[in-house]
């Protein structure tokens, strides 16, 4: 945590205090955070940051910062990661991953290299495969059910802090 605090401090030395005993209310804006080297290449960086931020606009206090790295760390359990992964992929934050969310995810993943029909095909397939309750979008239960069977999930959510 000490190291994390060091990183946090580095990003905005004039704002972040060294002493947290008085629990100050300091938040860093999103722009600074997504320029961190661990996040820079990530296509989902804005989503990651906004899902951890308390005020929903992407500013992270130190607690949120620690939170973010702890969930992404190797010590966090699978269920917790699943919860956060769901939030990351839910672009319109309606607690469901609908088709528009899927399309946005896909575009970010492939940097828009797929044609429109390929995109629709993939999104339809995803909904077909994972939607258990038949409402045309993925609820958290569907998502968790699908992720829990995935062999690769844990591997890709690890980060050394």
């Amino acid at each position: 945590v000490y190291r994390l605090h060091g990183r946090y401090y580095e990003m905005a030395p004039n704002v972040v205090p060294m002493d947290y005993t008085k629990d100050p209310d300091v938040k860093l804006p999103m722009q600074l955070i997504i320029n961190m080297p661990e996040l820079k290449e990530n296509p989902f960086k804005e989503r990651i940051v906004s899902s951890f931020s308390e005020d929903g606009e992407g500013s992270l206090s130190f607690n949120d910062f620690v939170d973010m790295f702890s969930v992404l760390s190797e010590m966090a359990p699978r269920e917790l990661k699943a919860i956060y992964a769901f939030k990351i992929y839910d672009f319109n934050t309606d607690n469901f991953i609908c088709k528009a969310d899927l399309e946005k995810t896909l575009n970010k993943l492939t940097r828009e290299e797929l044609t429109a029909e390929e995109i629709t095909l993939v999104c339809e397939k995803v909904i077909e495969e994972a939607d258990m309750d038949g409402d045309g979008k993925l609820g958290f239960a569907d998502f968790e059910n699908m992720i829990s069977k995935a062999p690769d999930f844990l591997r890709y959510y690890f980060k050394k802090s």
């Binding site: 994390l4 607690n63 992964a85 699908m146």
Partner: protein, 836 residues
Amino acid sequence: DGSDDIEGGSAVENEENTKETDKGKKRATPRTRRGHARGRDRHGDEDDEDDEGGMRRAGPRRHRSRRRGRAAGNEASDSDMEPAKARKNQANQKSKEDDEEDEDEKGGKSGKGKNEKKGDKKSDKKGKKEKANKKKKDKKKSGSGSDSESEEEPITEEELAKLKEEVEEKKKLIATLRNKPWKMKKKLSVLKEAQLFVEKFEGALGKGKGKKFYAYKVMMTKKWMKFQRDFENFKTACIPWEMKIKEIESHFGSSVASYFIFLRWMYGINMILFGLTFGLVMVPEALMGKPYGSLPRKTVPRAEEATAMNFATLWDFSGFAQYSVLFYGYYNNQRTIGWLKFRMPLSYFLVGVGSIGYSFMIVTRTMAKNANDDGGGDDTSFNFSWKMFTSWDYLIGNPETADNKFASITTSFKEAIVEEQESRKEENIHLTRFLRVLANFLALCTLAGSGYLIFFVVRRSQQFALEGLENYGWWERNEVNTVMSLLGMFCPTLFDVISSLENYHPRIALRWQLGRIFALFLGNLYTFIIALMDEINLKARYFLPFTMFDRSLGNTEALQSATDTSLEEEKIVKYNMTIWEASLYNGTIPENSTAPPIQVDPADVPRGPCWETMVGQEFVRLTVSDMMTTYITILIGDFLRAVFVRFFNYCWCWDLEYGFPSYSEFDISGNVLGLIFNQGMIWMGSFYAPCLPAINVFRLHTSMYLQCWAVMCCNVPQERVFKASRSNNFYMAMLLFILFLSTLPAVYTIVSIPPSFDCGPFSGKTRMFEVISETLEHDFPSWFGKVFGYASNPGLILPFILLMVLSIYYLNATSKSYKEANLELKKKLQSVRIEN
């Protein structure tokens, strides 16, 4: 009851007291994280609480209520606590938080997760549970009387058990705390409480050192996990060319990458073969055998000495290269050499047999492993979803790697899309079947046509030979060669065109393509050999500079012809040699062996024919020319073409990049076949030329780099990128077949052809495998030889073979039944899932 009230009251009181002491303890605890001064603290605690004396059970109750109080501190919902206490709790928690953070810094622990939305609900539930626990406990000990805060009193069995239960609960809580999506602050407080409790009571239960040990154990486990992970990373980093292959995979798809993975695997096998031949055959002979020039077989004959060092001769692997450890003929037939008494002939024989055996074993083992991998494929159920949600690697920090990752994700999606489209394709069954039959018919026609062409050409060349080759120009002399090369170049393209009729899944189409090209090469070879039979029988040794597909069987017949002729020659030479010796002795009878041997320079001694070395040379020349051909094809066919298309596109009539030449695609089937045939050559030739594996290692190494570069630079990905089948069993099956074919000639020569009398480690014996019986006689105790003799009795071997056949049948039957059972289970799983 009254007692309960008193307890309630005193509990509150105690809480106040203990809060103060807790503060003290808290300040102490960060520095005593692993519990050194805990004893001190605990005693302090106990002294303070030693009010009424007697009942220890108040202890747990007190702790619980304190925990409840703290847990409820964050919410306004818990109405048991008075506001003052609530505020105090908050203050406690805040400072605890800081302490906790300090602790974390010192311990290096990373923080625990938080969840803003769901935390409150869960903590509510937890609070209620704690209350329920407390009530339960109260009821349980309702008869216990007034409470006491001392833990020093002897604990009865029952209470001990209850305490243990509590401690276990708390431990579980600590362990699962990470999983709870509570707010960070809440988690910290709960954790702190639980830890304190556990510390306190583990000591009371006599496990004072337990906590230390437990913490030590935890640390060691963490370190061990980290070490394991680092080791895994290191192992992955050690795999040669892994990054290159990953790069290719991300840009070109897994089928192209599978070729390179196959290449790498072959490289591994060749390394081991190289190790065997180099270490056990070449090095001992070089170090401990008689040096160059001491024996006739080790010296360049006088006639050739003048040109022995020319580059042209060396490139042709004659001259000095021929008379060296690189080839069979150099080895002496002494039973043991050097001070180590290294048994050279035995080692040579065993290495030859052993390398074949090893190759068989490893190919079969890889096939079995691949078959296993294939069996457990329940991963198609969430294919697209997984690709979408789990393919991004969050650890990527490097832009280039990110580029690769994007490309690979796109490729993987495209592959999956192709699979999906294939499965959705609606087929007009009859039309497709008709087209496929038509395509196969056309392919057969092509094969027959090429066979006939070769036959015709060979016959013509025989005619030319009869009339004397000097009368004809270059074309006639090399007709057979060029025709075979041209066929090898154009027929595969023809097969490609035909396969577009068939409309198969690309992976299946690739297999058909491979099969057809294989058939083409084999067919060509057979017709070639049949046409040559007459010629061979006329004893004109027809060693062509074979091109890339004159392998395996072609050389079997060449071998046969070579040995036939050399046997004849041998007789002639032996006769000549006796005459020559006689001339040396000036007429004395050769049987008089007591005559002093006349010193003759070894270079002058007439030599017998050494067909094994000649065969070895042929193989080596073949390999080298094959290598050259491949490299030149890559450079010209791919690179120059790409350069041409790129730079001439500006001044050309039609769009070169999309139109005719365009960039070439990576030819998977051609390359794979080339690799397999090449390996077949190595297997055949390594018995006669121990240097072959070394040459092949070098060749594979350079070929890997060259092809990786060429692929990334000059090729474009195929239009329909398809996923290679997970099992490479198809390649393995072909490899196994070629291995079998390649070992046939070597085994045949070992068993039925007498080795040359004048060269090699087996000279002088009637059969090569006699070295084994010789060893058995001399080096093993006599009963061993008897046992062996009994064991090789046909009466024993036949039942053994029968037994093996039966066991194969049985295993086959059981494996089939397992597969069926597997499928049934999978279907059941699917139907259960669909129902849900």
